[in-house]
């Protein structure tokens, strides 16, 4: 019963608070249990630790909580400083959606990035394939198209989750067509067949911006 070396007893004694709290790793918990079976003096010490634990919990539980003002201050900052998600954060968000968890391994994250790049490339290729063919064969530069075509031109950044069929319907609804892009993530879109005044353009931008399919709409340069 008393064959344990002093260092070993001290080591077990030091672990008792975590054993009492239930936060010891299984290996150390086993060490403590074996020592407790051999030494009644350690069992007395464990009882003291349990008493300390119970009173510490009671003391803290009686302390109350912060007033709602604490959250109001946090919210004010969050609203004044909206976060711009980093590329990593966006990829991690996608990783979460495809079931890789919130903290995937960096290599898996790289695969998500590569997959996202392929999806964007495919989406771009498909949207370009929707460009109106009536303007003649072959690709025309933006300057040629917009300079010769009637209608108002705007630059549109679509929402990342906008589906192609939704974008097609949205273009049709506004009598619009994509004439160029993407450049810097934005497509040049021609709307209607008439030139617009500055006020009409502002109203058009506001109308187009209201759709959840678009992230941003700007008058095209020269409009």
């Amino acid at each position: 019963m008393t064959t344990d070396r002093k260092e070993e007893i001290d080591a077990i004694e030091a672990l008792l608070p975590w054993y009492a709290a239930g936060t010891l790793d299984p290996r150390d918990a086993k060490r403590v249990e074996e020592a407790l079976a051999r030494r009644p003096d350690l069992r007395a010490s464990l009882e003291v630790a349990r008493e300390d634990r119970d009173e510490t919990i009671a003391l803290n539980e009686a302390l109350g909580a912060p007033s709602p003002a604490a959250w109001t201050r946090v919210l004010a900052v969050a609203q004044a400083e909206p976060r711009k998600p980093s590329l990593k954060a966006r990829l991690m968000s996608v990783a979460g959606l495809v079931g890789l968890g919130a903290e995937p391994h960096p290599r898996r994250l790289a695969w998500v990035g590569a997959a996202a790049a392929i999806v964007i490339a495919l989406q771009t290729a498909t949207i370009v394939s929707l460009l109106p063919a009536a303007k003649g064969p072959g690709y025309q530069t933006a300057s040629q198209t917009s300079a010769t075509a009637d209608g108002a031109s705007v630059l549109v950044a679509f929402a990342p989750d906008a589906r192609l069929d939704q974008v097609g319907a949205w273009l049709q609804q506004h009598h619009a067509s994509i004439v160029e892009g993407p450049r810097g993530g934005m497509y040049r879109v021609r709307v209607g067949d008439k030139s617009l005044t500055k006020e009409q353009m502002a109203a058009l931008v506001a109308e187009l911006s209201a759709s959840p399919l678009v992230r941003m709409v700007l008058p095209a340069p020269g409009e």
Binding site: L15, A20, L63, V74, R83, S86, A89, A102
Partner: protein, 186 residues
């Protein structure tokens, strides 16, 4: 329905979701407040710490690497904020009256003894521990932190944490003994 983990919430905060911040706040603000209050002994200062901790989470969610529990990260931030406040408070040189008010925030062991209640007495002794000992006792017994997590929060090696906890228990036993309760340990 599965409950969203703290790590998932932090991933959403990184993406700019205020609702995720509110959920994380709802889960942890009371414990962060109590931890800060035990260090600072001032409700208004502890409340300021709570706000500052979650503002930091909003601004610096990308710094959380998920190697420890989110609550460990929050308590570590709270500790740094509280220590900065204590340093500022020292610089401001509290007058004796307000210092006394802080010291007298709990019954002393003699008063508790008059109440003849062992629980009251032990809680009074817990309030009389040194800040360093109070902190480690709270982290282990109330915040359920493992040796490794306490070491992360206080920024000390695990061996130091175990030694500090041993001395905290010893100080508590001595305070209790001086107030008339000998529990036979150490």
């Amino acid at each position: 329905m599965a409950v969203e983990s703290d790590n998932d919430l932090i991933a959403r905060i990184r993406a700019g979701e205020q609702l995720a911040l509110q959920t994380l706040y709802g889960r942890h603000h009371v414990k962060v407040f109590r931890f800060a209050l035990r260090l600072l002994r001032s409700e208004s200062s502890a409340e300021d710490v709570v706000s500052e901790v979650f503002i930091d989470v909003w601004r610096n969610a990308t710094h959380f690497e998920g190697r420890s529990e989110a609550s460990t990260w929050l308590l570590a931030i709270a500790r740094n904020k509280a220590l900065s406040m204590l340093r500022r408070r020292k610089e401001d040189e509290l007058d004796e009256e307000s210092a006394a008010a802080i010291e007298d925030s709990a019954d002393d062991p003699e008063v508790a003894l008059q109440k003849r209640n062992k629980g009251d007495l032990l809680r009074a002794c817990l309030s009389r521990l040194s800040p360093q000992h109070r902190e480690v006792i709270d982290l282990v017994y109330y915040h359920d932190k493992s040796i490794e997590e306490v070491a992360r929060i206080v920024g000390a090696p695990e061996g130091t944490v175990k030694t500090r906890m041993f001395h905290a228990r010893k100080q508590l036993a001595e305070l209790a003994k001086a107030a008339g309760v000998d529990r036979g340990w150490p």
